[in-house]
């Protein structure tokens, strides 16, 4: 419209009239046009918002950081496990007891910053590495074995249970780092350990894994454990009486996701309104409730620099069809659907899905793993399923979490195609 006005102004030859027109246009007309265009844009936005997905409150962000660099006041990242905050060396008494009973004792947890294929070798073929135990009495040679640390994976599984209890749709957690932790188990130690000794240092040489070894790393995510106090009033539900315990989230932030953690005997269900969570429970007494707060990052906060990339299972917001598809009951099983699912995640930015193979095909060494092993398909036999093989190319090279990010995308596709076995291949 502006262009038309400028064009027409040029056309008036009488300068007096041109000035008049210019005054009218700039005074009233152009603001009117802008207002009209703004209104049209807003209408379009409203229509879009009606179908846009609203579940972004439950996006999970993940990363890993060295213990010394952990920011205790970070706006949205918290350690996955509280006990990670303390540095713990095993005490000698338990080592002695373990060695005496021929039991393996956990010495340390290490993070291996290497790609999935190397990690898998270590999981499948356990290796023994040599090291040194330095105590107040001298240095001893020790032998250790590496075993994948499953504490963080179990934590993800526990979160899935909480999602279920709260009736929130599950999205695969994109946490590649959680799968790269290993426990060092002490198998044997040279000589006897006296009672009064104290450990000064433990060092283990991991041979070809040595360059990837990182000690004292803590996986983080944006989930904080809170306990909230409440007031409850009983409400009858036909022949049952329940108590509505209301938790206010006004103080802790209404824009975040909250999940109530508790066993099913005390929680029938919970409801969420923008400012409150209502827990419907047979419990009469008011008290405190365990709540997981899924903090969503706000724009403009100051975050400390991070050595490892911050990942998330966030979906793009500017897509119409993603929201539309999630509101429809029909299941679409086309190749394009797989592409849509994959490209709906921001995590797919560094990949390009080149082609999709479907059918029964010869097994090959898997390059991806299922990040939702706890989602079991109870109907079909694993061995009778056809395979969907997704071929990816990556835009970035040599990134040690590339295969894990691919696993995340493939695991999401797997949720939509339970009658197929999904795997990813990087070419």
């Amino acid at each position: 419209m502006k262009e038309i006005v400028l064009d027409r102004l040029q056309k008036i030859e009488d300068l007096e009239q041109r000035k008049l027109l210019k005054n009218i246009m700039t005074g009233v007309f152009l603001p009117l046009v802008e207002y009209q265009e703004e209104m049209n844009r807003k209408l379009e936005e409203r229509v879009f918002q009606q179908v846009a997905e609203t579940e972004e409150r439950y996006d999970i962000y993940t990363t890993v950081c060295p213990r010394d660099e952990l920011d205790p006041l970070h706006e949205f990242l918290y350690p996955m496990l509280q006990q990670d905050l303390e540095r713990t060396l095993p005490d000698l008494a338990s080592i002695r007891a373990g060695l005496g009973k021929k039991k393996e004792v956990k010495l340390l947890t290490v993070f291996l910053a290497c790609e999935f294929l190397k990690v898998r070798e270590l999981i499948e073929r356990p290796r023994v590495f040599g090291g040194k135990l330095v105590t107040t009495q001298g240095t001893r040679n020790i032998q250790v074995r590496l075993r994948q640390n499953r504490a963080y994976i179990q934590e993800i599984e526990a979160l899935h249970t909480i999602f279920q209890q709260n009736g929130v749709m599950w999205k695969t957690i994109n946490h590649p780092y959680a799968y790269k932790f290993f426990d060092m188990l002490l198998i044997s130690c040279e000589g006897e350990i006296a009672e009064e000794e104290e450990i000064i240092e433990i060092s283990v040489h991991l041979e070809e894994y040595e360059p990837y070894k990182k000690i004292d790393m803590i996986p983080l995510w944006n989930i904080e454990c809170l306990t909230l106090k409440n007031l409850g009033f009983p409400v009858p539900a036909d022949d049952r009486v329940n108590f509505e315990h209301v938790l206010s989230v006004r103080k802790t932030g209404t824009e975040h996701g909250y999940l109530v953690d508790g066993d099913e005997t005390s929680i029938r269900y919970s409801k969420r309104t923008p400012e409150e969570i209502t827990i419907v429970s047979p419990c009469e007494k008011s008290g405190t409730w365990d709540v997981r707060k899924i903090t969503q990052p706000t724009q403009g906060g100051i975050s400390s620099r991070q050595a490892y990339a911050l990942l998330s299972n966030k979906k793009r917001k500017d897509r119409f069809l993603d929201g539309f598809a999630s509101k429809q009951a029909a299941v679409v099983r086309a190749r394009g659907e797989i592409m849509r699912i994959i490209h709906s995640f921001e995590a797919a930015d560094c990949f390009e899905l080149t082609h999709i193979e479907v059918g029964t095909m010869s097994d090959r060494v898997a390059e991806t793993y299922n990040m939702n092993p706890f989602l079991l398909d109870a109907i079909r036999l694993e061995s009778e399923k056809k395979t969907i093989r997704l071929h990816f190319t990556a835009h970035t090279e040599n990134h040690f979490i590339l295969h894990d990010m691919m696993s995340f995308l493939v695991s999401e596709v797997q949720m939509y195609f339970p009658d197929y076995k999904c795997e990813g291949v990087l070419s």
């Binding site: 419209m1 027409r8 041109r18 009218i24 009117l32 119409f320 679409v332 086309a334 994959i342 490209h343």
Partner: protein, 231 residues
Amino acid sequence: MVVNYIWEAIIKAEQNGGSPKDICFVVADVYSPYMEVNNVMLNTRVVEEQIEINPYYRFYDIFRDLFDPNNNEHMELRQQIFDILIHFLADIDRMQGMNKQEYYSRFVIHDMETGMFGDSCREKSKLFSQAEKEVIAANLLRLYETGEALHLFKDTVRKLFKNSILYANQEGKDELLLYIGQTETSAARDKLTLLETIFLPLPFHTEVYWGNHFGIIDVEETMQIDSIALY
């Protein structure tokens, strides 16, 4: 395509690759009281640069005072104001028919063009004309509403490739035979690939015949010597 309303003139001009700026609306000296656009040629098929209109057909309340015959001052100014206002009214007109479905199809086209189905599909979606994109968008929306993938695949192919015929293999194989009645070009092949990607259910695959139809015994048209494809 007779132009009856001011908005039609603008939409037509845009479809012919022009810009609304190039159209100039003027008040006709002589006009029919029953028509808004007053073409010199009643059944003309081209959009003129200068379009004479009857402003009182729909907008009497707005324009009743602008061209008072007793006032002949500032004619140039009034003419340009009139032109600009008609453009503005045409813009408002164009929002009249907008509804949820129209917006949805607009969003879907935008999604396709911004790589919802990946980069290669984004490139291929550029090959379609606006009208073809709208066909795809409408069927894509229907796909998610009904899940009738195979039907919608056939429907889309039929609409975008005029002489095509589709056959389903009845022998229990998940196979479709497509006869596309046109010569094979890389653009046409890319278009078809995009449709297969979006609509075709996973286990299905297609056999495509471009220029020549495969022979069917007893169907005389398909059994012409030198133009039989083999299945």
